[in-house]
């Protein structure tokens, strides 16, 4: 298991980690299989989507901020219930194909750490097998 450290800079943002995941896959020596990119946090998710136009991830951040308001009649007293809920909706991990010793993504796909309660020091745990 390899640990990728990511320092986020805003409360909510998607950070492209594709090249670092790719390096971890290549370093693993696994030729065929799958790669688990796992967030060990409860207010930070992982997703795969378009990496070319940053407007796509900006739209996702805006949409989620509207759909899951930061303030509301939440029971959890830390003021970040929205971040927990967004993490459940987007998901705490992605599993990606590995073939020919390399990460296999679609042409427009990138891997993103989804920060919903930053800025913070975050980790992603990468398992290839």
């Amino acid at each position: 298991m390899r640990v990728l450290a990511v320092d986020t800079r805003r409360r909510e943002e998607l950070v492209d980690v594709t090249e670092r995941v790719r390096e971890a896959v290549r370093a693993s020596g696994v030729a065929e299989g799958a790669c688990l990119v796992y967030s060990p946090h409860t207010t930070c998710a992982v997703t795969v989507n378009e990496g070319w136009d940053p407007a796509v991830t900006a739209d996702a951040v805006t949409y989620l901020a509207d759909a899951v308001p930061r303030t509301g009649s939440y029971a959890h007293a830390e003021g970040n219930s929205d971040a927990h809920i967004k993490t459940m909706l987007v998901g705490s991990s992605v599993t990606l194909p590995v073939s020919g010793g390399d990460l296999r993504l679609g042409r427009w796909q990138a891997v993103f750490l989804c920060e919903f309660d930053g800025p913070r020091h975050r980790e992603l745990w990468v398992t290839v097998g």
Copy 2:
């Protein structure tokens, strides 16, 4: 593949199954890899999130009940379309890291069966490899 039986007690609730998943991982004898926790149901999901403060999962249940209303102009006649949709949003499984022969979760993370149409007898299927 190991089967965990869970009897839920409400229509909607998140049930912490972390220790049972951990036991399945340890019993598998797998040292390094990943663990798939899979719901074979269509109105019951699986997620990973905070296990310390029960207000977090209570907020998630409340949020989802508001976001996906139980009654509406649904075509499916069984009265549980909301539960099917919630299951698609949260997801039917999680994949978790296994290292050193043990389940590896973040400090605040727990694994939850998400009941959206209970109370029912449910199963989770755990595969370690």
Copy 3:
């Protein structure tokens, strides 16, 4: 890795690909493990849910069209930000149990390609291991 080609027919629809995934699992020769069904696209997801009553997937399509409107104050200029966001919410892949050399699903479960910006030629990448 096996590639399943799917031609979708509407802008938004869920297409049952269960039997094709099952064939890929059987052809792999893997007896025990898991199967990754991966969408290499950014406006097309994968889910598992009820395959018996088509009203269930119809309700999901209708719900998502309401929850993530096609038009809005989106920054991405291609007019399909809704499709990118829906893909993040539903997820780009599912991981399914394999046991006894066969795909193991719950009684009512089917595997669906979720088209959110069709009609298009799509692929699913299936990895069994």
